[in-house]
Symmetry: D2
Subunit: 244 residues, 4 copies
C-alpha cells in the first residue's frame, strides 16, 4: 500500500470566494479525495498544508510518505528553506514528487530542476486539449486522447526546464499555444512528475480523467527500492581484483 | 564548405497542376534554392530525384554528401531497397539526414527509427503554429516564436517514433491538435532531423523562416568526424594493462 | 499474472559439448527456470525455439505473450523475416522484449534500433563487473553494486545503438573495457531492454543475481495498457472546437 | 572568436608543494594555455580565481564570457552565493559551462543539477581508460579510443546526477570501477559539460588529448543565439487567431 501526502498551499482557499466556491473542501482535500476514489485500498492518503508547523512536513511525515503531491502559487516565498531542503533530500532518497500546475515556481521544483522554470501564461478561460505523446506510458493509461479540459489557465512554451526524461503529455490551448504538460524526471533515487493543469479558478481537480492521471502518476512515482540518499564512499584499493 | 544533396520524389510535380503552380521549379529545386539563399558560400547544393538511375543516389554521390534532405510521399514504395540500405549506411557512417514532412513514412526514416512512424492527419488548410521548446538550440536560431504557417496539412499525435534525443519544435494546429515537429536523433555517427511542415499543396518551402530552419538543420546535421561505419572489432587480450 | 515466452536459438546446445555441459537443459530452459524461481506465481513462463514451426512464435503465441526474451548467436540469419516482422509488430503494440547478449545482432533487435548494433569483443575469460548507474531503477532493485560475474565474454564500446532512454548498468572488464550493459528503450507501445551478460560458454544464467535482473526486467517490460499497434488516423475537421 | 574564462580555485597551488611541482603556473593557467594551444585564434582565453574580488567573476566578465570552465575542490564553501547565482543566471542565459573533475561538488554544478552529485572515489594512482560511447560526437573528435591516462584519482559510480542529455565518455579504472566521465546537459539557453579527469595530484591537464577534449567542449558549449534569461511572459488573448 502506498502512503501519499497531498500538500496544499491553502491560501486562495482562505480569502478567495471564487476558489472557495469551486473547492469548498480546499484544493488539497479535493485532490486527496480523487486519489482515494481512484486507488481505494491501494493507497493511504493524508494531507498537509502551509500553515501547519513545519508546513506539516516533518521528518516523520516525509519518512512515511512514498509520494508527495505539491500545489502552491501565491505563497512560494513563505515555504521555509529548511523544509524545502528536507523535501529535496527525501526525493533524492526515493520519495516520489508530483508537482502540480503553478508548483512549477515552487522552491522545491526549481531546486530539483536547476532552471528558471519560467513560462508564458494567460488566465482567460482557454480550452485545453491534453494529448498523449508517449505510447503505452503508465501515466497515460486510460486517459482519453485528447483529454478535453473545458476551461483552464493557459501555460505556453517556452517552459524553461531540463528536457524531461520522458515526455508524456503535450497540451494545446484555444489561443494556439502549446505546453509540455506531463514531464517525467528521475532525480537521485526519486521520480518527479510535473503535471500542468490545475489552476485554482477552475474545477480541474474534480474532473475524473484528471484524477485518473494523478492516480497513475502516484503509482508511477512510488519508490521500488529502499530509501537512501546517494552519498560519497571511499573505495579501498586494490578493489575488485581481489575478488576475481 | 558543406555538400548538401536535396532529394525529391518528384511525382506530384509531374502530374498535379496544383502542385506545379506552387512549385513550378519542383519542390526539391525550391528547397535547394532556399538553402543556397540562406547559406551562400558555406554550402554547395545539388539535387537528386526518384526517376534518375539509382534515384540519383549512387555510392559516389553519397560519399560526397555531408547532409541529405529527403522529401517523399506518394512513391515511398518505388524507392529501391538497395538504395535505402546505402543511404542508411551513409547515415550511420556520419552523413546527416533531414527527413521532411511525409518522409515520416519513407523507407529510410522508418528503417532508422524502427517504429511505425504513424500519425494522425487532416488536409484542410489548418493554420500551424510552430513553437520552440529547446531554448538556445541551433536549429531554432533566428526563428520566430511562434513561427506562423498560414495554411498547412495537419499532422497530429500520436507520432509513433522513438522519443527524440532533443525535441526542438512543437506545433499546434487550428483544429487543436499538437505535433512534435522538430525531432533530433543521433544514429551511428550520423544525425537525423525530422521536420514536419512541407505538404505539397502549400507554399511552405517558399517561406523564409522555414528556409532558415532547414539551413540551421543542415549545419547542425553536418558530420564533424571522418565518415566511418561502426563495425565489429576483436580486441586482443591482455589489452590495456600493457599500456599502463 | 505475466505471460513470458523465453525464446532460444538452441543451436550451441545441439552440437557443442562445452555448452551442453554448462546448460544440460538448454539455455532457454535455464533462463525460464530462473524466472520461475524468482517470480513464482506472478508469472507463467513457456519456451520456444528456432527449430519449431514458425520458430514457436505464431500469432497466437505472441498474442498471449506479455514479455518475450530472446537469445540468439550463430543462427541469426536463419530466423524467418516474416516472424521477425511479426515480433516487431507485437513489440510496437505493447509486448515487452528482453534482448540477451549476442541478440544485439539479432534481426529483431537491429530492426528496432535502426543501427548496426556492432561492438568490440574478446572471449578470453574476462571478469565482468556490472555497476548500477540509475539510482532507484526497478531493474536494479536488489542487485549488488557491483555485480561480479567471475568469467564472461567481453563486449566493449563503441556499442552502436541509439542512446538508451534509460541507461541502467555499465560493465567493466578485466581487460579495461567498458560497456553499456543494461539499456532501456520505448518503441511504439512496447518496452525493450538489452542486457549484455550471457555468453553460451559461461554459466551466467545460473547466477542468482543475473536471474534477479531478468526477473526485474520482465516486470519492467510488461505492458500496462491494452495491446494496439500505433496506426494512421484521419481526423475530421473542424475537430475539437466543436467540443469546446 | 570565442571568449573563454578559465576559473580556478587556486588553493592547492598556494600551499601544496606536490601540486606546485606539477602545476608551477597554477592549474587554471595550465588549462588556459592548453586551450590557446589547441584553438589559437579561434579563442580568447582569460583566467579568474577565487581570491580575486568577486572571485574575478563580475557581471562584466560574465557578460563577455561565452564559455566558463570551473575547477574547484577544497574551497567550494568559500565561493560567494551571490556569485554562484550570477553564474547560474549566465548559464541559463546561454553561457557555456565546463565543470571539471571535483567541480562535481561545486555550488554552481550542484545548483544546476538539483541532485547530490555524490560519487565513490579513491586516490591511489589508478590508470584511467576513457572510452567514447557517442559515435561522431564533436567533443570526442580526434580523441583516441580509449584515451589512456596513466595515473589519476578514481571516481566511481553511482554518480548522482540527472541522466545526461548526451553521454559521451565512460571511464574504467584499474580497480575495476566505471564512471560516466563526459556528460552533456542543456539548461536554459546554456550548455553544460561535465568532464571527470583532472585531479590536482596528476599532470592530466598537460596531456594533449585532454587538452583536445577541453577545446572540443569549449566549442560545443558556446552559445549560438543571443544571451537571454528565460522569463515569464503574459500573452494576451485572443492570441494567434488574429494573425491567422
Amino acid at each position: 500500500m502506498l502512503n501519499v501526502t497531498v500538500w496544499g498551499e491553502n491560501v486562495h482557499e482562505q480569502d478567495d470566494a471564487a476558489v472557495q466556491k469551486i473547492y469548498p473542501d480546499t484544493m488539497h482535500e479535493t485532490i486527496a479525495a480523487g486519489l482515494r476514489a481512484k486507488l481505494g485500498d491501494e493507497v493511504k492518503v493524508r494531507t498537509a498544508w502551509l500553515q501547519q508547523p513545519e508546513h506539516g512536513l516533518t521528518e516523520e511525515v516525509l519518512a512515511e510518505t512514498d509520494v508527495l503531491t505539491w500545489w502552491g502559487h501565491r505563497a512560494h516565498g513563505d515555504v521555509d528553506d529548511a523544509v524545502v531542503e528536507r523535501v529535496q533530500e527525501a526525493v533524492l532518497s526515493g520519495m516520489g514528487l508530483i508537482a502540480l500546475h503553478s508548483a512549477h515556481f515552487s522552491k522545491i521544483f526549481k531546486k530539483l530542476m536547476g532552471t528558471t522554470c519560467s513560462l508564458d501564461w494567460r488566465s482567460e478561460d482557454d480550452r485545453e486539449l491534453l494529448w498523449t505523446v508517449a505510447a503505452g506510458h503508465p501515466i497515460a493509461a486510460g486517459v482519453p486522447h485528447p483529454l478535453v479540459i473545458p476551461q483552464e489557465e493557459m501555460y505556453g512554451e517556452l517552459f524553461d526546464v531540463p528536457q524531461p526524461d520522458e515526455l508524456v503529455f503535450v497540451s494545446s490551448f484555444s489561443g494556439g499555444e502549446v505546453f509540455r504538460s506531463g514531464c517525467c524526471y528521475r532525480r537521485g533515487q526519486g521520480r518527479v512528475f510535473y503535471f500542468r493543469p490545475g489552476d485554482q479558478e477552475y474545477p480541474t481537480y474534480h474532473q475524473p480523467e484528471v484524477q485518473q492521471i494523478l492516480a497513475n502518476a502516484v503509482q508511477w512515482a512510488a519508490p521500488v527500492v529502499p530509501r537512501q540518499l546517494p552519498d560519497v564512499h571511499h573505495r579501498k584499493t586494490p578493489g575488485w581484483f581481489d575478488q576475481a
